[in-house]
Symmetry: C2
Subunit: 436 residues, 2 copies
C-alpha cells in the first residue's frame, strides 16, 4: 500500500461534514480504488463548538485557516469555505503557491478567479504543477466536468446547456404542478429549506451563470469570461406564463446555454428562462435535479442528470477529485494549458435564429393589439401565434402572449424598441426563447 493522500479540510458546513462522513463510511473501497488511503490530517472552520452531527475529535483541529497551506503534512487542501473572494481565495492562492493540490466546490471563486488559479496550479512547485480540481462546483454530484474534459475530449462541442440551479428548477416545477405564482412558491421553498433566506443568488440566475462560465471554458477551450454571461432570473415568471407554455406544448426552465464551436467567432453565454419542448429530455427534469446536455460533433447529444446540490452528491464529487489526485490522474483543470485557452469576445446575439415567446402586460383598451402587431411587422418579426387573455387581471391589465416564427433575435429586440414609448405596454415584456 502506498503512502496516504493527506488532506486538510477548510470549511465544515454541510458539504464539509458530508466529505468527512463519506470518507468514514466508504473509506475501505476508496482506499482500494485510489490505491492508497485518503487521510484527513487537519480540519478547520470558523466555529469549533458548533454541533455538526459528526465526531470531529478524531481530526486535528487547526484554528488559523491560512496555516493549512503551509503545513508540511498536507498534500491537498479541500476548500469548502465559499465566497468568490476573501478567505477562500486567500487560502486557494496560498495552497497552490505552497505547491499543494487544491480541491474546491466553490463555483463563484472558479468563475471569477479560475484563470489565475489554473495558472498558479501550472506554475506550482517551480513548474512541476499541482492539481486543481473543482468537479463539485458544477452540477453537484454529476461528473460533468470530467465528462467534458475527458469523456467528450475528442469532440468539437457545439453547445453545452442545462438546468444548473436546483432552487430555480424546484420553484418552476412546483409552479407548474400547483398553478401557483412565483412569490408564493418561493416562500414555501424558503420554509422548506430549498431556497436561501436571501435567494437572489439563485433566483436571479447568478449561481447558474457561475456554473455556465465554467462549463463554457471547458467545452470550448476558451478563457472563463463570467462577466460576459447575460443573466436573467426567474422572478418575473407568472403562473400565466407557465399555463401558456403548457398550452403550446412546453415547460419553462431556467437554462444556462453556451455556444461556441471552433468554427464560430465569439462565445455565446446566457442564463435565462426558456420554453423547453415537452419531448426534450430537459423538460422531464423537475424538482432540485440538475441536468447538462453536451452536443459534440461526433458523440451527438449527451445528457448527464442527477442531484445538483446537497451534502452527499457534493461530497461525492469532492472525493472523486481526491481519488483522481491519489491515482495520479492530473489532466489540465481546463482541459488544455491556460496559455492555450482562447480569449474570445462575446458573440453577437442578434444573429441568433430562433423562435421567441413574448408576454406583454397591456392596458385593456382598443388598439393595443394593432400597436404590438404593427411593431412586429415593422421590425420584420413574423408572428406564429398570438393569444390575448379574455379576463383582465387586477388593475385592468391584460396579458398578450405572442410566439414568433423562427427569425433573428435582433428583429425581436428592434420590435421591442419600437414599443418602448407605448402608453399601453405597462411593464417591459417578458422575453423567452424556445429551446431548439
Amino acid at each position: 500500500m502506498s503512502a496516504p493522500l493527506r488532506i486538510a479540510l477548510a470549511g465544515l458546513g454541510t458539504v464539509g461534514a458530508g466529505v468527512i462522513n463519506l470518507l468514514e463510511r466508504n473509506g475501505g473501497l476508496i482506499t482500494r480504488r485510489a490505491g492508497r488511503p485518503i487521510e484527513i490530517v487537519a480540519v478547520c472552520a470558523r466555529d469549533r463548538s458548533k454541533d455538526r452531527g459528526i465526531d470531529l475529535s478524531r481530526y486535528p483541529w487547526e484554528d488559523d485557516m491560512t496555516l493549512l497551506a503551509g503545513r508540511a503534512d498536507v498534500d491537498v487542501v479541500v476548500e469548502l469555505v465559499g465566497g468568490s473572494d476573501g478567505p477562500a481565495l486567500a487560502l486557494a492562492r496560498r495552497t497552490l503557491a505552497a505547491g499543494k493540490g487544491l480541491v474546491t466546490a466553490n463555483k463563484a471563486m472558479i468563475a471569477h478567479h479560475g484563470m489565475e488559479l489554473a495558472e498558479a496550479a501550472e506554475q506550482a512547485g517551480n513548474g512541476a504543477g499541482a492539481p486543481l480540481k473543482f468537479e463539485a462546483a458544477v452540477a453537484g454530484g454529476i461528473p460533468v466536468l470530467k465528462g467534458l474534459r475527458e469523456g467528450v475530449a475528442a469532440n468539437d462541442v457545439a453547445r453545452v446547456y442545462g438546468i444548473l440551479n436546483g432552487t430555480c428548477n424546484y420553484i418552476l416545477s412546483t409552479m407548474e404542478r400547483s398553478g401557483r405564482d412565483f412569490a408564493e412558491v418561493l416562500g414555501e421553498a424558503q420554509a422548506l429549506g430549498y431556497a436561501e433566506a436571501d435567494p437572489a443568488f439563485d433566483i436571479e440566475g447568478i449561481d447558474a451563470a457561475h456554473k455556465l462560465a465554467i462549463l463554457a471554458a471547458l467545452a470550448f477551450g476558451s478563457r472563463i469570461d463570467f462577466g460576459a454571461v447575460e443573466t436573467t432570473g426567474i422572478t418575473r415568471i407568472r403562473a400565466a406564463d407557465i399555463a401558456q407554455a403548457e398550452a403550446l406544448g412546453y415547460v419553462i426552465r431556467l437554462i444556462g446555454l453556451a455556444e461556441g464551436a471552433a468554427s464560430q467567432g465569439g462565445l455565446f453565454q446566457r442564463v435565462q428562462p426558456c420554453l423547453v419542448p415537452l419531448e426534450h429530455p430537459l423538460a422531464a427534469v423537475d424538482g432540485a435535479t440538475n441536468a447538462v446536455v453536451i452536443e459534440g460533433n461526433f458523440a451527438g447529444r449527451l445528457l448527464f442528470q442527477g442531484a445538483g446540490a446537497g451534502d452527499g452528491p457534493t461530497a461525492s464529487a469532492v472525493v472523486a477529485d481526491l481519488i483522481d489526485i491519489a491515482r495520479g490522474v492530473d489532466t489540465a483543470p481546463f482541459s488544455v494549458p491556460v496559455e492555450a485557452l482562447e480569449a474570445r469576445g462575446p458573440a453577437d446575439p442578434g444573429n441568433r435564429l430562433g423562435r421567441t415567446y413574448l408576454r406583454f402586460n397591456v392596458t385593456d383598451r382598443p388598439g393595443v393589439l394593432a400597436e404590438i402587431t404593427a411593431a412586429m411587422r415593422d421590425a420584420g418579426v413574423s408572428i406564429e401565434s398570438l393569444i390575448q387573455e379574455g379576463r383582465p387581471e387586477e388593475g385592468g391589465e391584460v396579458l398578450v402572449v405572442l410566439v414568433t416564427h423562427e427569425g433573428p433575435e435582433s428583429a425581436v429586440i428592434q420590435a421591442l424598441e419600437l414599443l418602448q414609448g407605448s402608453d399601453s405596454v405597462i411593464e417591459p415584456p417578458l422575453v423567452m426563447p424556445l429551446l431548439a
Copy 2:
C-alpha cells in the same frame, strides 16, 4: 510539442472509418487537448479494395493484422475487428504481450476475456503495465465507464441499470407508438438498417448482457461474470403487453440491471424486459438511444444518456480513450487491480422483492381464472390487479394479465410451477418485473 501517440487501426468497418474521420476532422483540437498529436501509423482490414468513403492512401497499409502488435512504430493498437474470440482476441493478446496499449470497442471480447486481458495489461512491459481501454464497448458515445471508474469512484454503488441495446429500444418504442406487433416492427427495423439481418444477438438480449457484465464489474469491483447474467430478450413481447403496460402507467423497456452493494453477498445480473413507470427517466428514452442509471450511496441517482451506437458516437469513445492514454491518464481498466476484484457468486434472485407483471395465454373456458388465482394464493402471491381480455385471440386463446403486489420473486416462481401441468395455460407465461 511532445512526440505523437502512434496508433494502428485494426478493422475498418463503420467504426474504424469513423475513427479516421474523427481524427482527421478534429485533429487540431485533439492535439491541443491531448498535449500531442494522435497519429495513425498503420491500418489493416480484411479487404483493402472496399470503398469506405474515406481516403486511405495517407495511411500505411498492413496486410497481416497479427503483425500490428509487433511493429516498433506502434504505441497503441485500436482493435475494431469484433467477435469475442478469433482474430480480435489473438491481436489483443499479442498487443498487450508486446507491452503496447490496447483500445477496443469489442464488448463481446471484454465480457468473455476481460479479466485475462486486464491481467495481461497489468503485467505488460515486465510489470510496468500497458493501458487497456474499452469505453466504446458500453453505451457507444456515452462516457459511462469513465463515469463509473472515476466520476462516482467515491460511492458504494447499489445498482447500475439501463437501456443498453439501441435495436431493442427502437423496436419497443416503435411498437409503443404504432401499436404494431413485434415481428412486423423487427422486419421494418431490418429494412431500415436498425437491426441486423441476423438479429438474435440484439433481440435475445446477449449484446445487452455483454455490456451489463462489464458495467457490473466496474460498479461493484467484482470479476466479470458474463455467464451469470440471466438473459431474456424481447421476442415474446406483444402489442397487447405494451397496451396493458400503458394502461397501468408504464412502458416496456429491455433493462440490464446489476445489483451488488458491498454489503450484499452475491451479485445480481439480469437482462430482461421490464415495466418502467412513466415518471422514471428511462421511460422517456426512445429510439436507438441508450441510457444508464448509477445509484451511489452519496451521489444518489445519476443518469447518463446518449447515442449508444453508430460510427460517430463510437469513434468519439475510442478517441477519448486514446486522448486519455496520450495524456497519461491510466486508471486500472476495472477501477482496481485484477487481484483486488472479488469473485462473487450470483445472488439468489428468489429473495428479490418487487412487483411483477404476468401475462398468461389461456384457452377460453370456464375455471381458468380460478386455476390461476388459486396457484397464486397457494404460493402466497398477492394480486394487485387482474385483467382478462374480452375478445379471444385467434385459436380461441385469451390473454390474462396480472400484476402482483410487492413480494419475493420466489413466490411468483412457485406459483408458475404450480401451473406448469395446466391444460389451460397455452404457452409459458410472460413474466416482467416492474422497475422500482
